[in-house]
């Protein structure tokens, strides 16, 4: 029993922290800074415990006598846990100044962040469809509320409504699909579904395929694949900066946790069925996302559009899995790590700057940025290069693995299209670099503030470079080789 509790501790600590913060938020005398500190402590403990768990090859179920086979604890889920907690920690730390000038922030913000982290962790650990749905809804509902956090701002409320209505509808597809799968299999446990799909012929599984397709639609909606993308740009734009950062870097990754688990464990024998649909969606996503990203003047919207393109790359790898590529699954994990690092960094800088000013941050606002804040500009350049997949950054290796996997599975044209959109993305990422460096600023250089936010941003940038060129010479710091080893290990632990 104690053993089981210990195993569940990373998740438990986050949810305990969430409840504690919810209660604390009613005491008005507690300052937001202290609330921030409390939530950070909870997240940090959870992160440390997960880090300690990583590399343990056992894959036990949690509390089998209570939950049955609903929760699994494997390296796959633990790696996602690490990313979620790290994402939340970075969001909170980098934005520790953000609410200084904003009156609409209060204690519940921290509770909601922790709740959504808990939801995502549960989602990564879920080994049963209804559990996965509940986890997804816990995470989503927290994020809906966070998106509309700026109550008095129309665009914030609007994007919240937009996201919630569309998100709730897509959630309904998930539960409908689950019902159909239950109808076919007689169970919602992923183990049972896997046994069923492996022992039946394609023709006998029509109901299950329809159900599974509905589940896939929810997943496609949540990652913002075209044609389910209409919410992405507006929601990213309307949400306050810390929330956009949290959504883009962390919440998006969470969806891939369940998608990969379903795709690799349960639907292996039927995922050939979706290949063509998935390819069509991928093409639309790559082109549509690029189109959206090119046309934006606000950086937040550009990054939103480009995040759709990144979903497109991940979808290439997803359909490669269906075509039998062995590289594709680790490639997705690696790409998620790479995307996580780069987007946390890019949004981190944006919200760090936004914490001091109330500007909308268009490309034009960044004119002369390199002169005003030379070090920040270098960091931003590194993040942009990594997002664009420029070699010597981790983003390049992410694309390298994805495209090799696509070629391996025979999707040569799709790999070509992916490389073309990577070329297009060079335009909108380099535009920011150009704007930062190529225009003079009338303001003189500001001193580089050394505080926790900037130190973290610098660390992210170093990790991106080290993940792109580093060797495994330094112990404990995963280099270019180490990250893919971790990814492979995580995929290997799936069952």
């Amino acid at each position: 029993m104690i053993e089981q509790i210990l195993l569940a501790l990373p998740m438990a600590i986050v949810v305990i922290g969430a409840f504690a913060l919810m209660l604390l938020s009613h005491i008005k005398t507690i300052k937001l800074r202290n609330m921030n500190l409390v939530s950070l402590i909870f997240l940090a403990i959870s992160f440390a415990l997960s880090y300690y768990r990583l590399g343990n090859n056992a894959t036990p179920f949690l509390f089998v006598d209570v939950f049955g086979n609903s929760f699994i604890l494997d390296d796959f889920a633990t790696l996602f846990d690490l990313m979620f907690t790290a994402g939340a920690i970075l969001t909170l730390l980098i934005n520790h100044d953000y609410f200084k000038n904003r009156t609409y922030f209060n204690g519940e913000y921290f509770a909601l962040i922790l709740f959504s982290v808990f939801g995502m962790m549960t989602l990564a650990h879920a080994h049963e469809l209804v559990t996965a749905f509940i986890a997804l809804e816990i995470a989503s509902l927290s994020v809906y509320t966070l998106v509309g956090y700026h109550k008095n701002k129309n665009s914030s409320s609007e994007s919240m409504m937009k996201y919630m209505i569309l998100g709730a509808m897509s959630g309904a597809f998930f539960i409908l699909g689950t019902a159909m799968i239950y109808g076919a299999v007689g169970s919602t446990s992923l183990t049972d579904i896997a046994t069923y799909t492996h022992s039946h012929d394609m023709k006998e599984m029509k109901l299950l395929i329809v159900g599974a397709s509905f589940v896939m639609i929810t997943i496609l909606f949540k990652i913002g694949a075209v044609p389910f993308h209409s919410w992405v740009v507006d929601v990213y734009h309307g949400a306050p900066y810390p929330i956009t950062m949290f959504m883009a870097s962390t919440f998006k990754i969470a969806i891939f946790a369940i998608a990969l688990r379903l795709y690799l464990v349960d639907f292996t024998s039927i995922n050939g069925f979706w290949t063509q649909m998935l390819q069509a969606v991928t093409i639309l996503t790559l082109l549509g996302g690029s189109w959206l990203a090119i046309n934006q003047t606000l950086l937040k919207r550009m990054l939103a559009g480009s995040s759709i393109v990144h979903s497109g790359y991940l979808l290439i790898a997803l359909s490669s899995i269906g075509l039998g590529s062995e590289l594709a699954a680790p490639a997705i994990m690696f790409y998620l790590i790479a995307y996580f690092l780069s987007s946390v960094g890019a949004f981190g800088i944006l919200s760090f700057i936004a914490s001091k000013s109330k500007k909308q941050m268009s490309y034009d606002d960044f004119k002369g940025f390199a002169q005003k804040r030379p070090y920040m500009a270098i960091m931003m350049t590194i993040f942009m290069l990594s997002l664009a997949g420029f070699p010597s950054t981790i983003g390049f290796l992410g694309k390298f693995y994805i495209f090799t996997a696509a070629i391996e599975s025979g999707q040569i044209l799709l790999a070509g299209l992916g490389i073309m959109t990577a070329f297009i993305s060079v335009y909108y990422y380099f535009k920011l670099i150009a704007v930062m460096y190529f225009y003079e600023s009338d303001k003189s250089a500001k001193k580089f503030p050394i505080n926790i936010s900037t130190v973290l941003i610098v660390m992210m940038a170093l990790m991106i470079i080290w993940g792109g060129i580093g060797t495994s010479l330094i112990p404990f710091v995963p280099g270019a080789d180490g990250f893919i080893d971790i990814a492979k290990q995580a995929i290997g632990s799936l069952r």
Partner: protein, 491 residues
Amino acid sequence: MEHILTNIIFLPLFTAILLGVLKAPIKVLKVGATFSSFATFALLGVLIWHFDPQQGMQFTQRLPWINNAGVSYFIGVDYLSLVVLTLITILMPPLYVYMFHEDRKGYWYNMMLLQTGVTGAVLSLDLVLFYLFWETMLLPIFVMIGKYGNGLRQYNSMKIVLMTILGSMSMLFSILYIGFIYFDTNGVWSFALNDLSTIVFNAKTSIWLAAGFLLAFAIKIPLVGFHTWMAPAYGSAPTPAVVIMSAIMAKLGVYGIWRFGFGLFDATLSYYAPTIIVLALIGLLYYAVRAITEDNLRKMFAYSSGSHLSLIALGLFLTNVYAWSGSLYFIATHALSSAGMFIMIGLTYKRFKTVNISELGGVASVAPKFTFFFAFFALSIAGLPGTGGFVGELLIIVGAFKANFWVGVFTATTMLSAMIYIFWMLQRVLFGEANNSTQFSDLSLREVVMLAPIVLLLLATGIAPSLFTPIFEPQLTASLQEVLTSIGGLK
């Protein structure tokens, strides 16, 4: 000795990082950068001393880098890379001397990064490593044009970056595909050139794969049709960047075809040879005509550079020993003379604040030293006998005649066009009515010292080619023989 190439590649980068971390003041930065360029020069001297012309790849170093994908840090030097490496290392010190009065720190950092980028690209024997350097050498150019350039600098730097990356993306696709083919046949991943060159492609695939590489290199050279970035970028770029672009980076396009094109798909390239020969011949003529009509000196020599690079590419695809020796020789001598020419144009700009021919004139009467160097470099570009350019051109023309009479005739006649624009330009810039709007000062001692080595080298390569040919001749003949055998095997 084992690490000598690594040191040559990374010394400038580490100097830059060290100075950057220490926040070196501009004076220390200048000294440090110049020191790094002389240190690499010294290392090159050691390298050449130990270089054995009878052997192929030497000083190789192979370290595992990304084991999972079979990517290794694999570098080495042979006759071909030695020539380009020597050019880079020789040209850096004069450029730093040229930049002596430059007080913007970013300029110096970018130059050091650029040196690492181009050197790495020349020495890497692993395709992914090559791609890494190939792309990173673009960043300093991007910043130097966009930040320190003139005219429509932001637009032009974006243009060169996008067009070059379009090429490199197509090359990336080919690299990944070749890596996969190797994995498919051997069961292990590798991107090392000597592993990949063992692959036997089927004809259709290799035509597509070669196209990926050729697009990247054709844009870099640039062959006619892929050249729209060239004149604006040369026109906007500051002088040191122009020198590197014309003397080194354009040559890297040819080098890429030589090393990776012929190294990986020697037989397939003969499929593309007619197309590229025709493109090169058109380029010879087209760029020459554009150069005749151009008023801006930088752009004029951009076109002139394009014309001569077309000639080099032509020689490469003629695949006979004269043309190949000529191409390699011309790579070296054209790099020297165009570097000298663009430095002269930079000096002109410093004095007149303009490089438009119509606004210049009458230099000869007031500045004899300036006139001498200006005319010498211009004439060496045109292929004046006694300068290295003449030897290279002559060899290529002989090779062209050997390959096909009409190609030879066409090449020889178009070479005359260089004479037209060079002499007409010289007449308008150096003679004619004096431009009295600016007081013109002759070359200072520092400027003479910086240009003299280039002049001496050009004269040496022109008067005594036999001093230099033994370095590359044996291996060049050997690798040409290999290429010819595999083309013959195809037929």
